[in-house]
Symmetry: C2
Subunit: 377 residues, 2 copies
Amino acid sequence: MKFLHTADWHIGKKLHGYDLLTEQRDAYRQIKAIALAEQVDAVVIAGDLYDRALPSEDAVATLDEMLVDLNRQTKLPLLAISGNHDSGVRLGYGRQWFDSTRFYLRTQVGEGLEPVTLGDTQFFLLPYFEPFAVRQLFDDPEIRTVAQGMARLVQVMETKFAPDKKHVLVAHFFAAGSTHTDSETQVQVGGLNAVPVDLLRAFDYVALGHLHRKEALQHEPTIKYSGSPLKFSTSEAADTKGVWIVDTDTTPVTVTFKPLTPLHDLVVLRDSFEHLMASDHDFGVGPDDFIAVELTDTTPIPNVMQRLKTRFPKVIELTRVNPLTVTLAQLDTRQVQNDPLALLKDFFEQTTQHPLDDQQLHWAKQALQRATKEDAK
Amino acid sequence: MKFLHTADWHIGKKLHGYDLLTEQRDAYRQIKAIALAEQVDAVVIAGDLYDRALPSEDAVATLDEMLVDLNRQTKLPLLAISGNHDSGVRLGYGRQWFDSTRFYLRTQVGEGLEPVTLGDTQFFLLPYFEPFAVRQLFDDPEIRTVAQGMARLVQVMETKFAPDKKHVLVAHFFAAGSTHTDSETQVQVGGLNAVPVDLLRAFDYVALGHLHRKEALQHEPTIKYSGSPLKFSTSEAADTKGVWIVDTDTTPVTVTFKPLTPLHDLVVLRDSFEHLMASDHDFGVGPDDFIAVELTDTTPIPNVMQRLKTRFPKVIELTRVNPLTVTLAQLDTRQVQNDPLALLKDFFEQTTQHPLDDQQLHWAKQALQRATKEDAK
């Protein structure tokens, strides 16, 4: 059989305050198009369907639409698990009905032990789990880490292997040896929670979620992170996002990468302020692309964020790659402003590389008002 | 056919801070037992399944359990709508799968126009709606009130009436002429949002939710509020809660009330403090019953709430039915306490009839500490 492996949709995620639902809907449409073009027999989603345990109504409505469209309208069998960003309870509401249209959603660790068989393949759908859940499941106080839990779970899974079937594990954890990016939850990818890849060799394919780059386990031909469909952090700017198409007809299974084209890309621009603002220079970015600016300048630039946004409306990050070399004496006095709030904004932006947010602006205004009043006394 | 009519489960509701999930699970078990004993063909839930648009995980898990048990395990067809307390989107997640086991959950006003036919009866499942939703549905700016919207909706429903079927409306609003209790949301039961009962006469039966007392429309034999399965406020203490069994085989339909027995009752005790505390007097209440105390005393009683709770652990309200007649001169000096915090607590409780909550206690302690420090200077 042939299936599509994706994960980490993070529906509802915001990128530096920017809503991504439009981009997520577009990525979904591309994933569906690939599934249809490749004539896959099923789609696997390896966890983190939502970005938050408590997703917004919009996120719930959007994911519901996608699942209904993919499974009920397009009639594609769906194999999915909850990730560490999902609330198993909230994501799993109603799931007992989903099996009826071959939408297999598993949100409790014990459910991972009962394989779902589709065609020539047994799928073990193991949701994200904490060690205590496996400790409880087996009533074994010795199980203290994810790796120990996983060893025990794989042991039981192997007893369920049908010899004439291929065996696929769908799971959501940090597999040791993999590298990670900034957009994953740091606390979850640490040492104690790592699963050694050697524990996973019993399977013909392991469809992982959790890490957002497909390269996280690039030396493993059949243990794969699909990565997220969108770039969620600057450290992923150079990545190509996509999905795996897995064909179980061969031994070993055949794995092919299918890229997704970002509707609005995340781009890092490293350049001088002057060059960035020069209107005759084409950086090949659209007005809806997300831009991380790395300024090469060494002098302060007043209102830098505000001015950059006139050229690039969605600047999501502003960093300086060179130290500021300016001294007070070097300051161009023509640029010195008399408005204390403007001065404060500039100073804040120069030193922190971030503009004041609304709350901070509010505080600053209040403080200045009070200071002005006291001056007047 | 025969169906059971219930509504306003409000899963996740707290009563003066007390979790009600245990009581709600018990009420559910009784409702199920009645449905089985009466051999009904379906169960109707007329809105407000949850207490909040954003229910807790526990509430989601509990409702999911009930729905799975009633529909998937017990195999009872289920007809349900969202109420004003539900988020249609959150309650409705996954509902496109629910129809497959005859669990008909409707959360959008337009869906109410397509009847669900079970046996000899057409059910119009009309979720709670705001006037703008009907205005939008019919693209008619004249629709400004729930009554206007309802008139238009009923008009369309009538065109769908199959002449050889009975016609039942399931809806969630304030029907004019009905009375209401404290546990409903006041803003929702006001004049502009009222639906005249005359608009509802086209139906053989109208299964309403929203008001928590079955007596709210007691003079209407076939337009009924089921009321909530539990008492949610002191004003409902004397009520008998239950469900309606509706038999559509007769014309008019036959309606029978089936009471529920509270696991833990809500009881009002009007008595003197002395009598209430007398250990030889049996008030017929259990330690888990919710008690609203109406004190008949006219003198202040130190630590009244704390002392009452030694006798009745779940005092949820404390009011005085007689004015305090004490003067300073009458105060028994033996009861005068030297601890300022105890005095403050007493005073607060005497005047407001409520004990200090944790936050207030914290503030009081801080204020007293500061005052003491300043004294010492």
